[in-house]
């Protein structure tokens, strides 16, 4: 019955999760039902999707019906936001992370970064046109910021959109776009004005338009989610697809990053917990030199060191989430939290692999996949180096 069936040790995912002072019955219910959904609809197919490199369309529709895709979005557009606080979001990240296949949630939840700019600063007409089908899982929307020339330095982006009558004509290219091969739309950062942050706008581009070319990119991890390079060659975009005001896109992009980083930190921390679960189960089962692996001091210390880091990350995560839910935007801490979480993930993926040995080198295990997802977490959504630099600036250094 249990898709995650394995020898049960005391250190399974739930036992490892420190009790949260911020979570109550609603969070427990959501966790329970989401877990059922994940175990029934996602977990049995992960290996197949990882090989195929794409998530089937009906999975999006099922997730839409279940409420996963609409979770946290306004009811007016078919989502469900009442009672869905930051901690419900953490539960969602944690339960999806239990798959040990970040590509599945990267694909399913791609609207989590593509849609908010439209809801935050887009026109009413655009919200009503785009949000409902996205939240039903009928179409996907990606976020296209990074370019071949650079990612972290958003203010220097080169893709140009020239206003011509009632349309914009877009030329340029975007790189590392999650969902770029399958999404219908991309919330795209373009230059409409002069150099620097003040010349950047957000434009909703229909990826089926004439002049758009998409090229798939093969990558180290996240195989269930497609990644693309997008090329725009005289692509005509109706002027009403401008998201927010012209040359005022930069703030919309930056607002988005804070939520993305909290979500990535939650996912990375939970993936690190999955590594402990796998390593601890193996260490208690495997016998070498006449005793359990777990009875060798070098292994015991590895597991304790993993728990130490994951629990510290969890406490930081929940504290940041609490501050955000109080209306704060603690940019420095959200940046450092992401670093804390991805360094923890890197450490745990390494240590769990060492404990599992050859078993973690074979494809198809959760630790093997998570190991290949370390870099996308540590670089995507703001690299550790950029995050620390941003934090230092925010701290007034």
């Amino acid at each position: 019955m249990n898709a995650f069936a394995k020898p049960t040790g005391a250190l399974d995912f739930d036992a490892l999760r420190p009790p949260s002072p911020f979570m109550g019955e609603a969070h427990a219910s959501w966790r329970r039902e989401l877990r059922k959904f994940v175990e029934r609809e996602l977990a049995p197919h992960v290996n197949e999707w990882e090989k195929a490199g794409v998530l089937p369309r009906d999975v999006f529709r099922k997730a839409g019906e279940f409420g996963l895709i609409g979770a946290g979005f306004p009811e007016a557009y078919g989502g469900w936001s009442e009672g869905y606080d930051r901690f419900m979001g953490i539960v969602t990240s944690e339960e999806l992370a239990r798959l040990g296949a970040g590509g599945v949630s990267a694909a399913l939840m791609i609207h989590g970064i593509g849609l908010p700019p439209i809801l935050n600063i887009g026109s009413e007409e655009m919200k009503a046109r785009i949000a409902p089908p996205v939240l039903r899982g009928e179409m996907q929307i990606s976020l296209a910021i990074t370019e071949p020339s650079g990612g972290s330095d958003v203010a220097a982006l080169l893709t140009r959109a020239e206003r011509k009558g009632d349309r914009y004509v877009v030329n340029g290219s975007k790189m590392f776009i999650t969902g770029g091969m399958t999404s219908r739309y991309a919330t795209t950062a373009v230059r409409t004005g002069g150099p620097g942050a003040g010349g950047v706008s957000l434009l909703l581009i229909d990826l089926e338009s004439r002049g758009v070319t998409r090229t798939p990119l093969d990558k180290q991890g996240w195989w269930s989610s497609d990644t693309a390079a997008l090329y725009f060659d005289d692509v005509e975009v109706p002027a009403e697809n401008l998201i927010g005001a012209e040359n005022a896109g930069f703030i919309g992009i930056m607002m988005n990053f804070n939520g993305e980083r909290l979500g990535m930190a939650a996912g990375a921390t939970a993936s690190a917990r999955v590594c402990i679960e796998e390593a601890a189960a193996w260490a208690q089962q495997r016998r070498t030199f006449g005793k359990r692996l777990a009875d060798h001091q070098v292994i015991r210390h590895k597991i304790a060191a993993m728990v130490q880091r994951v629990n510290a990350s969890t406490a930081y995560l929940e504290h940041c989430a609490w501050r955000v839910s109080q209306g704060e935007t603690p940019v420095a801490d959200l940046s450092l939290l992401k670093v804390q979480a991805t360094e923890t993930l890197e450490f745990c993926a390494r240590e769990a692999s060492q404990i599992l040995g050859g078993a973690a080198y074979l494809q198809g295990s959760r630790v093997e996949r998570i190991y290949r997802e370390v870099r996308v977490n540590a670089i995507g959504g703001g690299s550790e180096e950029i995050m620390r630099d941003l934090a230092a600036r925010q701290l007034g250094l």
């Binding site: 019955m1 249990n2 049960t8 739930d14 019955e25 609603a26 427990a28 219910s29 959501w30 329970r32 039902e33 989401l34 059922k36 959904f37 029934r40 019906e65 279940f66 409420g67 996963l68 609409g70 979770a71 469900w80 009442e82 009672g83 869905y84």
Partner: protein, 260 residues
């Protein structure tokens, strides 16, 4: 028709059961509790007879057969969470009969009889057993107390006018019994696959009403009639042995195993 579905809070089915060191029972400290899986099947069955299955051609589930589903649980305050799960799946309202100690099947059946007297449902759908004590008694006792017909271990339930046809899993295969309503039905594993509750329904469930009662409200004495002397782990399995000849096998079966 109105359906009553009793639901029990038990140790989660994924967890490994551990006996307490003092052998007084099973250790439940800080462990995850969930709805008994057979009760989940009972809730699902009631909901399907209420909602029908518009997407399944020729389904025997017809929308509107059931009009109201009342989930009732007997247990501590936390059993409200189990009721909320049933409400999130699609039950309409809940009743918690608050008891802080273990209640034996006969006492459960007596409380349920009192709830049936008050609520007047046409059908009670129960799990055939709970995965904690595996008693498999409550449904049958309730049927006897009410004087209602019973269809136990159901693998298919079809309502037809004033009757319900229950297909039962018996040793020899399947047996179908036709019961006059009102009736008791207990669910087997293959009756259906329970749904997961969607996020909107989890949220809506928070607003559905739960009445809180005590056994005293129904005049039922829940004092235990049985005494648990000792709870122990089952003996560890011995490793197998290989025999060289049929002769040796027969000898071992006769003299060591004592089965011949």
């Amino acid at each position: 028709m109105k359906v009553l579905v009793p639901v029990k809070r038990v140790l989660d089915y994924n967890l490994k059961v551990k006996v307490k060191a003092d052998q007084t029972g099973v250790d439940l400290t800080n462990l995850k509790m969930s709805m008994n899986p057979f009760c989940e099947i009972a809730v699902e069955e009631a909901i399907r007879h209420k909602e029908g299955q518009p997407n399944v051609a020729g389904s025997h589930y017809k929308a509107g057969t059931v009009t109201e589903i009342v989930a009732v649980s007997i247990g501590p305050d936390q059993a409200q969470e189990t009721i909320r799960t049933a409400l999130a799946m699609g039950a309409d309202r809940g009743i918690l009969v608050k008891v802080d100690h273990e209640v034996e099947p006969l006492a459960v059946a007596k409380i349920l009889k009192a709830v049936v007297d008050a609520e007047q449902p046409q059908v009670v759908i129960l799990g055939k057993q709970a995965i904690d004590d595996d008693s498999n008694q409550t449904g049958q006792m309730l049927a006897a107390l009410l004087g209602w017909p019973q269809g136990t271990f159901a693998s298919k339930v079809e309502f037809a006018g004033s009757k319900v046809n229950v297909t039962r899993e018996v040793d020899g295969g399947l047996q179908t019994v036709a019961l006059d309503l009102p009736a008791i039905i207990t669910t087997d594993l293959r009756l259906n696959e329970p749904r997961y509750a969607s996020l909107p329904n989890i949220m809506k469930a928070k607003k559905k009403p739960i009445d809180v009662k005590t056994p005293g409200d129904f005049g039922v004495n829940v004092a235990p009639r049985l005494k648990v002397v000792k709870v122990t782990e089952p003996p560890k399995r011995q490793g197998g042995v290989k025999v060289k000849t049929v002769q040796e096998l027969v000898d071992k079966l006769k003299n060591e195993a004592g089965v011949l």
